[in-house]
Symmetry: C2
Subunit: 457 residues, 2 copies
């Protein structure tokens, strides 16, 4: 494709399917956000008074239209060229523009509604969203889809700062982490309920990550931003590379010492996962080509090698196409797709069971559907649940590798990388290197909870 | 990791689990390889006379030891540094060296055995293996594991040229596409059987690929070689980029015309797949950074969007984590791992079936194992089978996307990419761009068969 040499942005695959019930509640007093005293066993709790923030940051997604514009502008193409190119690909310029306008109109609606209440509003594009914005705001609104919500949540480390998701394109976005879709166009209603305390707080458990033995200060790579912002991107990686280079050049006696230091220091990463951590091999090319800078890095059909220890149990060597560790919130996201069964598979299992036993096991569509639904539903658990759920994706069992349990619950999962070139992907958006020898400790802590809002549907 | 900035090679994940029976047969006459007249319904056939090639190419794998050496040499490290670095990672230098020696000794054994029979032998590293070698040789021996076998096969387009795999590290490599392991150290025995015709020919069906609408002449990227050979790598991509750039710079009126041309031309790719074609999204960064060349490209949790039509049926929009289309040979490779069920899952299905029906469905370990084994075995079919087997990996079903059948047999599968940045990976080793608008037609033709040898175990 003519556009393949241009910078591009990834589009978050919308896969969160969390459905929550909403219940109206009482108010959180005043303007400040006092930590609410709740029993951690409840998934949600009534506020003591209404919620009326003074300062709200609205973080907006980048629409596909904006993205395509940016990349063609980078290539020196006009709007007319953009139209033709998209048409040739079978995409629709007017369609993209339409969705873009729907989103921007909805953002405008939200912002106006907030300002009408005298609230100080800062509208921030996802690329500009950082810790300073989080500190400034009393509450943060994610204006986009579930992907934007995950990004917004990723920079909120305190369990006191409320994050509210508004789905700005309900027809195209699942928006399961967002408020019910009716509030998208009637946002003042949502604000009123918040003000009156007619809502519930929902604290969602999140995952924390300790990494050691990586050899470099772990530099997170934002997989979305790295593409739009060439500057930021080269910055992040210049640091990474300089670190690598520095540790390569000193003479052996000095070098060994500094390497040991680097290798033994564990660190708590400044990131919390709302959905899942995914560990897997990738093909990453860090090739310094003097004359040539382009190269293609593609997903290879390559197995991931690692060792896993669940709840301080014995280490087990495993080979698979990756390991997923999710929260209750994430149990309906990627983890769900990894583990769910298609009716076709369930039917086949029951058919074999029937033929081996001679029992009258029903094989009609209705029954197969019922069994399949029950099986798939059992994969989902509550956002407030303190347990992690780990699943081995496509385990490879042969002479060398075995797999005791393909999935299960745990309080803590430790993984030691035996990979050539792997990474740990957090909520599908940020990644960390995770190569041979590195150890990740994945756990949960109540202080990492994310404070979100439940509004009646 | 300090080594992450260096070029590295991928290691083929050994996942082929084809087990074939062997039967002794009569001879193929003389030195030349006359096409054998066989019924294509048989998976294998008796040669008419012994097989005595005059010229044999032996293609060797790159051992991990060689690879690590190369990459540390690139960084200016000594052998001693290499030892220390590996030790720190928990890897063993002496272990790598040992496996390397086992491999090279086995290669030497093969080569000596061939030369002792007066056969003209060319030993070729995988990086040097090309069409010229294929043309020169009467037969090609793959000296490595299944990965090397796949590479060797990939450049053999004729159904008359025999390819024989010898597993040079039976303790570490599964070698299911290779001769039985006992011939590794007793290769003269294998040669004698070949000479006497005490073997069978096995023609394995392969997949062919037509691509259209890509906009660029499809340039295959060898995912293994691109890392070891910086020169070749930059060559291949300079071509790709120059193409892209050329199509970007002309003024709109001329440009549109040339784009249309590029978009409408379908082409049969010069490659045949022995295992499978896998189509999926990847994160590929083709960013031209003036001052900085390093960047990380990682597997993103990103869904693949495409449309699929099976056997000229209606097009169906799908969203999944990828699509696999395999041969009988490949039905025990990646496709197998995508589709197989763990006992844990089978147990759960039967448990639900039991609770919903009240029937006495056994749930003991033995029965679960039996059902699981039968289910998994049903995923495997013969290398001579002319059918393709397609499977949708982790299908995503929601308001927009549906999935009628998650997997099935077909004679032809057409896929239209709706992906941002996807590729088509052939046998886990070569890839082609497959972006928005491109259409792939995946089919089989008897003339694409690969001629391999079945020796009694």
């Amino acid at each position: 494709m003519v556009v393949c040499s241009l910078a591009r942005m990834t589009r978050r695959s919308v896969m969160n399917l969390v459905c929550l019930g909403n219940r109206a509640v009482s108010l959180l007093y005043g303007n400040s956000l006092r930590p609410l005293h709740t029993s951690v066993c409840n998934s949600s709790s009534q506020p003591k008074a209404g919620f009326k923030p003074e300062k709200v940051a609205v973080v907006t997604k980048t629409t596909r239209y904006e993205f395509e514009q940016q990349r063609y502008r980078y290539a020196g193409l006009s709007e007319e060229d953009l139209k033709q190119l998209l048409a040739m690909k079978g995409s629709s310029y007017s369609g993209l523009l339409e969705r873009h306008n729907i989103h921007t109109n909805n953002v405008e609606h939200i912002v106006k509604s907030l300002r009408r209440e005298g609230i100080d509003v800062r509208v921030v594009k996802r690329g500009e969203y950082d810790e300073e914005v989080v500190r400034w705001a009393d509450a943060i609104i994610s204006a986009g889809g579930d992907g934007t919500m995950l990004l917004v949540a990723s920079k909120v480390l305190s369990k006191d700062k409320p994050v509210i998701g508004v789905n700005t394109d309900p027809e195209r976005s699942e928006g399961h982490l967002c408020l019910p879709v009716r509030y998208t166009r009637t946002f003042p209603e949502a604000l009123e309920k918040l003000c009156r305390g007619e809502f519930r707080w929902l604290w969602r458990q999140r995952i924390r990550l300790h990494l050691e033995g990586t050899g470099i200060n772990p530099t997170p790579v934002d997989l979305h931003e790295q593409q739009l912002s060439l500057e930021q991107h080269s910055q992040a990686h210049r640091l990474t590379t300089m670190d690598s280079q520095r540790s390569m050049t000193p003479p052996p006696n000095m070098w060994t010492g500094s390497l040991h230091e680097r290798f033994s220091k564990p660190s708590l990463l400044p990131i919390r996962s709302l959905n899942e951590i995914f560990i897997g091999e990738s093909l990453s090319s860090r090739v310094k080509l003097k004359s040539f800078k382009h190269h293609v890095n593609l997903l290879l059909h390559r197995a991931s090698y690692y060792e896993i220890s669940v709840d301080d149990g014995p280490w087990e060597k495993q080979k698979s196409s990756g390991l997923s560790i999710c929260t209750g919130t994430g149990s309906k996201a990627w983890s769900y797709n990894i583990n769910k069964l298609a009716e076709q598979a369930v039917e086949e299992v029951l058919r074999i069971g029937k033929s081996l036993t001679g029992l009258e096991i029903p094989l009609n569509r209705e029954f197969i559907e019922k069994v399949t639904d029950e099986y798939n539903e059992s994969l989902v658990f509550g956002p407030d649940d303190r347990r992690l759920f780990y699943s081995v994706r496509e385990p490879i069992v042969n002479r060398v590798f075995s797999s005791s349990r393909q999935r299960g619950f745990a309080s803590k999962v430790c993984v030691r990388s035996r990979c050539w070139d792997a990474c740990m992907v957090v909520d599908g958006g940020t990644s960390f290197e995770f190569n041979d020898g590195a150890i990740a400790t994945i756990s949960m802590s109540d202080e990492d909870q994310l404070r979100t809002v439940l509004l009646e549907n």
